[in-house]
């Protein structure tokens, strides 16, 4: 039995997961997500890690490998760090073995990752700096419209006449939205419009990675936004890409899961190397 923990420090939220891994038997013992808001991310990460261990009646010493991902290279007590695309790829395969692409959409970034059946990163594309297609932006708009995060998806799905936002800049897009409100465009249509604009950009990213087969698993916080998932499906259809778009209730944990799983892999590899060293 190898117990590992994966900690994903994002720009909006921290995700952590505790795993027990035995060969192909991968079991999740617990998971946590917490918004960062005003706190110090690394400190928060440490708290979450300890809470999670506490829930499982464990201490740091019981864990074989503490793996970080996201913006946590400097987290002191970690055993090792993997980069986000590596972990999201592995996490995605764990959540959905059929996935051959990962679309990770978080608070600030969007990434399309092409993977193989083992979770190896084959190609990727990231949104450039200028991108209004992010969770943060949606959150701002939702607040402006007086809508809760959970309502974004359902409302967007009700849209009958969505209007796309122009531009690549969140600031200018915000003004666009204000203009729409002033023209009495409904919140549904505005949200759907944003989702569609985001989707068309994300599909572009996916296309650039040349996905051809299998499913796309959406990961990151926005995978929970059913409106965006629906818009993605529409955009894929419109662009005639015959790949299904999936989401998973645990999508937001993909990075943390992947980190924990890689942690176990690495732990075993290191153990083997040590054995070899001891023998020789």
């Amino acid at each position: 039995m190898t117990v590992t923990i994966g900690i994903d420090v994002g720009s909006g939220a921290i995700k952590a997961a505790l795993f027990d891994i035995e060969g192909d038997k991968i079991e999740c013992l617990g998971k946590r997500v917490e918004r960062i808001r005003q706190s110090d991310p690394l400190q928060l990460a440490e708290e979450i890690c300890d809470d999670l261990l506490g829930d499982g009646g464990m201490e740091r010493g019981d864990v074989a490998y503490i793996a970080t991902t996201g913006e946590a290279e400097t987290l002191g007590f970690a055993t090792g760090h993997f980069y986000s695309m590596t972990t999201h790829a592995r996490g995605a395969i764990h959540l959905d073995p059929e996935a051959r692409s990962v679309l990770d959409v978080g608070a600030l970034h969007g990434r399309a990752i092409k993977i193989d059946e083992r979770g190896k990163v084959l190609d990727y594309r990231m949104t450039s700096q200028c991108a209004s297609g992010s969770g943060q932006f949606l959150e701002n708009i939702a607040r402006y419209l007086g809508i809760t995060q959970e309502d974004i998806g359902p409302l967007s799905e009700e849209a009958d006449n969505p209007e796309k936002v122009s531009g690549i800049c969140a600031v200018l897009a915000e003004t666009d939205v204000i203009n729409m409100v002033s023209r009495q465009v409904s919140a549904s249509n505005i949200l759907k419009g944003i989702h569609l604009s985001m989707a068309s950009r994300l599909v572009k990213l996916l296309r650039a990675t040349k996905v051809k087969e299998g499913a796309v698993l959406m990961t990151g916080g926005l995978a929970l936004d059913s409106g965006l998932v629906a818009a993605m499906r529409e955009a894929m259809e419109e662009q005639k890409i015959v790949v299904t778009v999936e989401s998973h209730p645990d999508s937001i944990y993909a990075g943390a899961f992947g980190a924990a799983i890689w942690g176990a892999f690495r732990h075993e590899k290191l153990a083997r190397l040590n054995q070899l060293a001891a023998v020789s």
Binding site: S11, Q38, D40, P41, L42, E71, T74, L108, Q129, C130, A131, S132, S134, Q136, F137, R143, Y144, L145, G146, I147, T148, Q149, C169, A170, V171, L172, E174, T175, I178, N179, V181, S182
Partner: protein, 442 residues
């Protein structure tokens, strides 16, 4: 009397200036821009009218020798008027929030939610007079920001105590504030002025003044007819203003002329607004000769500071003063508004101090502006800075430094009313349209 009004519908704020026929400014008004442009315009205009009434009242008082320190007196009247206004809107907000609570989200905890609101708004109301006490520093001038930040703070604490999910309350607030904000302002000025005056008089028992006469003076000021002779609109949202084409001027022209009206020696104008930065060269008559704007990108404009303020949970007004405390300036290369927060967190994680980062951010904004100025042809004497960001002391300090370094000893004008420059220009166009008969040109 004949009045000329300039409206500057900006991307973040809407400004109005009311002018008499001799180009004298009677009043200025400002509000945050919002999705309902008509309301934004109406509010700004009403604020300018309020300011005008104060001016008229003051003129009335000037004839009256009863008050030793008229400035102080008028400040107090103005502050208390704002307080009255604040309380009026707060009551409206409370009521609106209550209505949303009834919507069923709270799953049988409506009563608790109502009580929580009761507590929150009660506290905000109690705090209000202190906000408007003489010399008090406010985070912002707008109801939305003031009420919002207090709601977040107090609401968060209270919700925790009561065990209600704050996200739900916040959502109720978000919904309500939009409604409240987009309701046209109540027209009742007399009542609010009256109450404000009474508060002041009550506070100054030593004042040897005839209360009745004072009220009469006020009534006279309020009764003075203000005739909207001509309105000119400008600003980012000008095309959507409900005005005919000949009543609309480009922002560039208005800022150029406005700056000229404030400082007749102006030859170079810098305007940093919410979403754009413009550098304008004008001739001695205030006519635009050349200009440059930032294109496409909203980096390094007023909204940028807004994002930073949100990220730091501070008021816009507080950023500058904090940055002034910096001992060094952290180099910031990107002024991309969207990534402002990320950049900030990055630096904090590296152990930099908040004030030093802020100083760097202010410098970055000004550096960008300097580039745009340079593109428009550099700085000629005199140099006038307009737009909202000019109110920020740290930005002003950086600007002064960089102007001196790069253009030597030029006169730098920064008017406390710099944010109204566009509206002032527009009002001047309005006056000229009627007085010089220049309105017909198109």
């Amino acid at each position: 009397m004949r009045c000329f009004i300039g409206i500057d519908l900006g991307s973040t704020t809407t400004k109005a200036v009311l002018m008499d026929e001799d180009l004298g400014v009677l009043g200025r008004g400002i509000t945050n821009s919002r999705s309902n442009y008509d309301t934004a315009t109406a509010v700004a205009k009403q604020e300018a009218v309020v300011d005008t009434r104060l001016t008229l009242f003051r003129r009335g008082l000037a004839d009256d020798a009863g008050i030793p320190d008229v400035d102080d007196f008028m400040d107090r009247v103005a502050q208390y008027f704002r307080l009255e206004q604040f309380l009026e809107q707060l009551a409206d907000l409370h009521e609106t929030c209550s209505r949303f609570v009834e919507g069923g989200r709270f799953q049988n905890r409506e009563k608790e939610a109502m009580e929580t609101l009761e507590i929150i708004f009660g506290r905000i109301g109690d705090e209000a007079p202190a906000l408007y006490a003489p010399g008090a520093a406010r985070k912002s001038d707008f109801f939305r920001d003031l009420a919002g930040s207090r709601f977040m703070q107090i609401g968060g604490d209270v919700a925790k105590l009561v065990g209600l999910p704050f996200d739900l309350l916040l959502n109720v607030y978000d919904k309500s504030i939009i409604e409240v904000e987009n309701r046209p302002p109540s027209g009742d000025l007399t009542g609010k002025f009256g109450r404000a005056l009474d508060r002041v008089l009550g506070e100054m028992p030593d004042l040897d003044a005839d209360t009745k006469k004072m009220h009469a003076t006020l009534e006279k000021a309020l009764a003075q007819e203000l005739d909207e002779t001509y309105v000119v609109g400008t600003g980012y949202g000008r095309v959507t203003l409900p005005f005919p084409k000949e009543h609309i001027r480009s922002e560039i022209l208005c800022h150029g002329l406005g700056a000229h009206m404030m400082y007749s020696g102006t030859r170079t104008v810098l305007d940093i607004g919410g979403q754009d930065t413009k550098a304008i060269q004008v001739d001695p008559a205030g006519i635009v000769e050349n200009f440059q704007m930032n294109d496409r990108c909203a980096a390094g404009c007023g909204r940028y500071l807004g994002y930073i303020a949100d990220e730091m949970n501070m008021g816009l007004h507080e950023l500058g003063p904090l940055a002034m405390k910096a001992t060094k300036s952290v180099r910031i290369n990107s002024t991309c508004t969207v990534f402002a927060g990320a950049e900030l967190r990055d630096r904090l994680a590296l152990g930099e101090k908040r004030e030093d980062i802020l100083a760097g951010l202010h410098r970055a904004i000004i550096l960008r502006a300097m580039s745009i100025i340079s593109r428009s042809g550099g700085i000629r004497d005199q140099f006038t800075w307009t737009g909202g960001v000019a109110n920020n002391p740290a930005a002003a300090r950086e600007l002064e430094k960089l102007v001196r370094e790069n253009y030597g000893d030029v006169t730098i004008n920064i008017d406390p009313a710099s944010i109204y420059t566009g509206a002032l220009g527009a009002a001047t166009f309005a006056q000229r349209a009627v007085i010089n008969g220049e309105g017909a040109a198109s």
